[in-house]
């Protein structure tokens, strides 16, 4: 493997049925590269939740994934409405998702908490009316829990 692999994904604005294609692609690549299945799963879930958020809350955006042997970084960028209270948004069960999203199986307010649980570092920056940037890092070491 090269020192670093950078992947870039454009996430469409409102196609919920295609949500997860980018995450699926990253998962496949990491698997092929031989990363531990548990690490791959953690990256896949973190990215998938972020990808879904981008589609249901922010009209799409883009995701960059930086892969090295010792860590995987995922950077989500969107120009959506932004998050008013980040701390509140990160708490389990908080959601502003409308009912139609809930009937599709999302909007339980567990996305950001899941992303936090699965990553070793997460940072959310947001400006109302400007957009949201989420940085998540997963270290390539087995967790003992």
């Amino acid at each position: 493997m090269n020192d670093q692999i950078v992947l870039h994904y454009e996430i469409p604005s409102d196609d919920f049925t295609r949500a997860g294609e980018a995450s699926s692609n990253v998962k496949k690549k990491l698997k092929k590269m031989g990363f531990d299945p548990e690490i791959v799963r953690r990256v896949a879930i973190t990215m998938y939740e972020g990808e879904i958020n981008m589609i249901i809350h922010a009209n799409g955006g883009y995701i960059d994934v930086i892969i090295t042997l010792d860590k995987i970084e995922i950077i989500f960028n969107d120009s959506g409405p932004g998050i008013e209270n980040i701390e509140l948004a990160m708490s389990a069960g908080f959601s502003t998702a409308p009912d139609n999203i809930r009937s599709l199986g999302f909007g339980a307010g567990m996305g950001l908490p899941n992303m936090k649980n699965y990553s070793d570092e997460i940072n959310v920056e947001s400006k109302i009316g400007k957009g949201t940037k989420v940085y998540a890092k997963i270290l390539v070491t087995k967790r003992i829990d």
Partner: protein, 117 residues
């Protein structure tokens, strides 16, 4: 327990993936909320759900789930089935409702995998 065993216990039918029938399954979860499913990243092999859209397949894919049981006799649309075929995930459909489907599998020894703390 295998996927075929689940099919028999739940008097279910295959939608696709009969060829995966002899694969072993270890733990299961039942939910209509995908983020709840995604909250337990430890090996889960089976998902029971009443939800029928492509995101159910995507969720299973991210979790390495190999079998999805649709309860209340539901069958997803062709696009969702096609996605599952692509991912090598077995789909089965049972007439049981969620509670009884989970209960029957539990009774036969299938467990949840995540411990309650």
């Amino acid at each position: 327990m295998t996927i075929n065993d689940i099919k028999d216990i739940l008097k279910a039918t295959y939608i696709i993936g009969e060829e995966h029938g002899e694969k072993e399954v270890h733990t299961a979860c039942g939910s209509d909320m995908m983020s709840d499913v995604l909250a337990f990243y430890k090996d889960q092999s089976v998902l029971l759900t009443g939800l029928c859209n492509p995101q159910v397949i995507r969720t299973a894919e991210m979790m390495d789930i190999i079998c999805i049981v649709f309860v209340r006799g539901k069958v997803p649309d062709e696009m969702t089935v096609e996605l599952a075929r692509e991912k090598g995930i077995a789909l089965i459909s049972t007439g049981h409702r969620m509670f009884s489907a989970c209960g029957r599998l539990y009774e036969e020894g299938l467990r949840g995998g995540a411990s309650y703390r």
